[in-house]
Symmetry: C3
Subunit: 312 residues, 3 copies
């Protein structure tokens, strides 16, 4: 595929809108960038002369820094815009903000927004590329791509792979993007959460759903453990974080009963002793820090592809 | 003029302090930079090795980003300093802040300050160049320069051009800088605002003053519509924003009676449905986004000229 | 020494952990970088392709900007992280933050933290270099290095030099780092503060301690005047800032009785009329702005040495 494939999409709004072939092309492009970085040639001139604007309507040091590093390694100029702190731009419509920034000849917008669909709206008003860095409970495509990249690195292929996503799925844009990406590439996805927050309607996506953690772990080649945010929506659902840990926490003991070489992922930041134990997070099955590293190569690939897309 | 003209001013503090020849030289230099940028050579090495510090005592994402992009396109290193958030520097005098930053070998200061005259004070304490990015109700010279650049682009010359500035003039540094720049270059300026906030004392600047919007629109080749900030000073002056819109809002219907090809400018961000209607802001007479684009070339020209000035 | 000396430390955590030889090597390396900068070659490619992250858990525009400029002059890519504003990373352990950033292939961490020892903790969890930019009341090694560099520039050598540190010593990480650095290089250090806040236990460091300002000034070749922060801890200790100024303020009259060419340093920002008078701060004995300038060369040297250290 690789050489003959021509990338045509100017935006990355979500994995729902991509074909399996497009997903594979991003992953293969990322491999090229990862190779470069491991040979200690950290910068490539691929996007020299282009400017990326990181528009963050929600604070996110972690994702912003990962994108910023990816942009700089492509020799792209970077402008950071903390839209939460920007009083003037807050009163402006997203369309006006986009059109104004486009008039400044921004080439790539990376946008994090609390409202689902904001990147899609922005992309309708600008010719520049738009990359979704997380929008409401909708999608977080580059996070899912780096999860999938990490799985492909370990297993060679996603085909037939059993992947279980465990935790607060219904509030998670990471889960949604993972479901789209994994199923398109042939993986079998199981979702696992306490019954009271189990998203039964996700069955439409062609995934298995269970509230039994051991059921979710049984045949899993890999699990993706989501951060439980008790401060937010789940206060009523559970008596306490320690209760959750007891029933759904991923611990060494819990994993012992299942595949010895099960791969453990987490999008970070981890809550030690809530959804995962330290001995698992820091143990031999964990690829959590590989995920972080792979995020650079995956984001470089996405930024490169969308901004050099052959447009229709 | 161009080739023989030698730029000698190390600062851009306001258009009041410039001659017509200097204004023209900035505009011509900006043309050169705009040509470069449209030929997809976005970066020039003109200020490589120099460092610009953007000192913002008032938040301004829009102006800060425009300057930052201009600096980076000149290959200048950029340091952003949010002086509102800086607890230590707040207690320091502007002179001490300036001297300290100069000791760090900063070459160019871009300063936005809530107090009129702050850039003038700073310039007395540093050998580095100082560019005023808006000071109190005093001046916003680069905004006026980009307005004037946009007019010159459309009309070829400012000589004899009728330009009306409409709205909250008395609080506007944009209006003041435009008045200086436009009149020096031979344009006829009319100011229009509701009687209760009409700045009669501006007559000393050689401009026409009226509270009759149709009078201001009658012979105008171009209008510059200012943002009305009801949250601030005008609460008492008017019953409501909708009342203002009815009497002074620039709408398609309102313009119909006057020159068909009147040019509509706005320094942004626009209040749709308050001082301007969407069909005008987004319509064929609007050059609002051209202004934004021209801001880069104009700021590149200013940064380049002041930092390479032949000093006396 | 210079050519044969091999730098082996990956971190700069404090001057307490350095030998006299290592201190001298930093100072000599800084001389090289200062020479470059004065010949108007402001950028060197020494760290091209490397990435520095400035992690500031405490706000500090002044120190952050100095490090940022030093990094950019070494052609290093820079990522600024305001950890005070970062909600997600605040809940994370320093170890997890460090490991995550290291997974992003950060080469150098510059860390400012309110807790003493935080840089030491971070350095245990990352292979990347860690530079302490001030931690609690522990150390501020690059500040002391630039103070010492400035003294060496004036006097040629530190050996036998009498240096008095005056003011709020017990709360000062600057004082502690200066004491380590100065005594190791053979200077004689005197600490002077009002009796009520005089840190008698500092005698263990081999320094002289007095509450008599004239005693501290008598044989001093140089003094380092510390900022008095009345808003914080000393409210009870003194009736008023003016009372402090009268007794301990460094004024022209006060200095007149002592060495004519005494060198006056201050880490900044200065409180004019509290710990120092304007005629001294801006007078011929002051090297306050030289200190700021030297900070760039010293920080370039430190960043360069730790990130190219020959590790054991």
């Amino acid at each position: 595929m690789t050489n003959k494939f021509v990338w045509t999409k100017k935006d990355l709004l979500g994995l729902e809108y991509l074909t399996a072939e497009e997903l594979s092309h991003i992953l293969e492009t990322a491999e090229g960038f990862k190779e470069v970085s491991t040979r200690d040639i950290k910068k490539v001139p691929a996007l020299r002369g282009k400017t990326a604007a990181n528009l963050f309507y929600e604070p996110s040091t972690r994702t912003r820094v990962s994108f910023e590093i990816a942009e700089k390694r492509l020799s792209c100029d970077v402008v950071n815009m903390d839209m939460k702190a920007s009083s003037v731009l807050k009163g402006e419509t997203l369309a006006d903000t986009g059109r104004n920034l486009e008039a400044l000849k921004i080439d790539i917008f990376v946008i994090r927004h609390h409202m689902a669909g904001a990147p899609n709206v922005l992309s309708q008003f600008v010719n520049a590329s738009v990359v979704n860095a997380g929008d409401g409970k909708h999608e977080h495509p580059t996070q899912a791509l780096l999860d999938i990249y990490t799985l492909k690195e370990k297993f060679g292929s996603l085909k037939g792979l059993n992947v279980s996503i465990i935790g607060d799925i219904s509030h998670s844009r990471v889960a949604r993007s993972n479901i789209w990406g994994l199923t398109k590439l042939g993986a079998n996805v199981t979702l696992c959460a306490p019954e009271i927050i189990l998203p039964h309607d996700f069955k439409q996506f062609g995934v298995k759903i269970t509230s039994d953690l051991d059921e979710a772990l049984k045949d899993a080649h890999a699990i993706n453990v989501l951060r439980m945010q008790f401060e937010r929506d789940n206060a009523a659902a559970f008596p306490s974080p320690s209760q959750y840990y007891k029933q759904y926490g991923i611990t060494k003991d819990r994993l012992k009963k299942h595949k010895k070489d099960i791969i453990v992922m987490h999008p970070g930041p981890i809550n030690r002793g809530i959804e995962i134990s330290s001995d698992v997070a820091d143990g031999p099955n964990s690829v959590i820090l590989d995920q972080v590293t792979n995020g650079i190569a995956v984001r470089m690939a996405v930024l490169y592809l969308v901004s050099t897309a052959k447009r229709g």
